[in-house]
């Protein structure tokens, strides 16, 4: 998957969780918690959806890597490059 495709997938997951947010203005460097009001249950939704879509088993110790779009892409790119 390209970086753009991964980003689009993440936006899809986030817009299911927070359907009233405007994702056109998402700041890739800002934490999801801060700009989308995501809580721990929402973050677990991201982890579960990545598991469902890509069979990715993300260990709890790596959850902080899913903090912002930039950090998420940086984390997922090597894991999804062959998908």
């Amino acid at each position: 998957m390209t970086t753009a495709e991964i980003r689009e997938t993440i936006i899809g997951i986030l817009s299911d969780i927070a359907p009233d947010e405007d994702f056109d203005s998402l700041k890739d460097e800002v934490s999801f918690r801060d700009q989308l009001g995501m809580d721990s249950m929402d973050m677990l939704d991201v982890v579960l959806e990545l598991r469902r879509k890509f069979k990715l088993q993300i260990p709890e110790s790596d959850y902080p890597r899913l903090d912002s779009m930039n950090s998420t892409l940086e984390y997922l790119e090597p894991l999804l490059q062959d998908r």
């Binding site: 969780i17 927070a18 359907p19 009233d20 249950m41 939704d45 579960l48 598991r51 469902r52």
Partner: protein, 412 residues
């Protein structure tokens, strides 16, 4: 009784299959409009059900809607409507003095079925089971979602009382107000049952699920050709307050809870018991200090099962047989059986009788079952009787649970 001990209804919020507020709902009922429609659910296939069309986004964001359950969402809708209707200055109400008491027939089946369906796509690997399962299936979920939405910090819980649960919610609210535990009780019941295939499959296995080519004719208590229950979703929550508080703020008063009773059959998992039902009704009358002939309307629980309707009529004949002025009706014939919401929704369908003096009928009775004959059963057309002073509402549930509530008209 002192005004501090008299409990009155000062707000009504409801979601019924044929109306999303009391005005719409009463109009539909008086015009013979059913809320039962064709319905299809996973595994079970085509059937009929009472389906609500209320706009839940009026009181909830799409994000909150996704996080919670249908029962939570309907509860939030009903509470929002009830608070608005009550005229309470909500911003300035002490939130730690508000209690939420929601009756449920069952809770958690919908989410559990959904999760099992999800993990089936992954060969039943539990790694794909959602973290939302527990907060969505804890038994207090619908009441808890209400507290989250409205910032309520007083007590909240659900009352598991099968199909007597709505009335149990009212009774709990009355008792907590009298104990001084809360100043405002948000009390009622909710049903999300049409979203679980299990309830349809189980009633069908019991030969107790209604079938009819015309869905609007499927729910037909007392008719000789009745063939079972129409499952419905819905909710109804009342704002209950002490009369002294309601008068202090000049609240509109729908009626006063003048009597109630609950008891247990102690006889069978599913078959009701006429003697225990009659005893429950009599206990409610005694608590209210009323004679049977003082009750103007008895709203029956009858669900259109063959045995259940006959047993309830037998119980009512025993209590009201000598009363010439008591009229008898049934609301399930319009909306189906809204399970945990049934008692409270059915009571709401009758509350406007205090103002309009009309008894709504039970519809779909083409041929009255002789075994269900009882004096003053209002069939198919509304009946004007003039003054209505007292309404008695029956609700009975599986494993032998009975709950009766009596509401009186409030006069200044």
């Amino acid at each position: 009784m002192r005004e501090e001990e008299r409990i009155v209804i000062t707000g009504v919020g409801l979601a019924a299959p044929n109306g999303s507020n009391l005005t719409e709902y009463r109009r539909a009922i008086l015009n013979g409009v059913s809320g039962v429609v064709p319905y299809e659910i996973r595994y079970f296939g085509p059937t009929v059900a009472g389906v609500c069309n209320c706009d839940v986004l009026k009181w909830q964001s799409r994000r909150e809607l996704r996080r919670g359950t249908r029962a939570g969402s309907l509860s939030i809708y009903c509470v929002g409507e009830a608070i608005a209707d009550s005229g309470l200055d909500w911003e300035n109400v002490r939130k730690d003095a508000v209690g939420v008491y929601i009756g449920v027939t069952e809770h958690g089946n919908v989410e559990t079925e959904n999760e099992i369906y999800q993990i089936k796509q992954y060969d039943y690997d539990c790694a794909y089971w959602s973290h939302h399962h527990n907060p969505r299936t804890v038994a207090n979920n619908p009441a808890g979602e209400v507290t989250l939405r409205y910032g309520i910090t007083g007590p909240h819980y659900t009352l598991g009382a099968a199909c007597a649960a709505g009335n149990a919610g009212i009774i709990q609210g009355v008792q907590q107000l009298r104990l001084g535990e809360v100043d405002v009780a948000l009390a009622g019941g909710v049903s999300e049952s049409i979203h679980t295939f299990g309830i349809f499959a189980a009633f069908n296995a019991q030969n107790a699920l209604a079938k009819h080519d015309d869905p609007t004719k499927a729910s037909r208590p007392f008719d000789v050709d009745r063939n079972g229950i129409v499952v419905a979703e819905g909710g109804c929550v009342y704002v209950l307050e002490r009369l002294s508080d309601a008068k202090k703020r000049g609240a509109k008063i729908y009626g006063e809870i003048v009597g109630y009773a609950m008891n247990s059959d102690s006889t069978d998992f599913v078959l009701p018991n006429a003697e225990r039902q009659a005893q429950c009704v009599s206990k409610a009358l005694a608590r209210a200090g009323l004679a049977p002939e003082e009750i103007d309307i008895v709203n029956t629980h009858a669900t259109a099962t063959h045995a259940g309707d006959i047993i309830e009529v037998e119980a009512l004949r025993n209590v009201f047989g000598a009363s010439k002025k008591t009229y008898i009706n049934n609301t399930k014939s319009f909306i189906g059986h809204a399970m945990g919401a049934a008692g409270v929704l059915e009571l709401a369908g009758n509350l406007p009788s205090f103002d309009d003096g009309v008894v709504h009928p039970t519809i779909n009775v083409d041929n009255l079952d002789p075994e269900c004959e009882i004096a003053n059963l209002v069939l198919n057309e509304p009946k004007e009787i003039g003054s209505v002073r007292y309404i008695l509402n029956n609700s009975f549930g599986m494993v032998g649970i009975n709950a009766v509530v009596i509401v009186g008209k409030y006069d200044e």
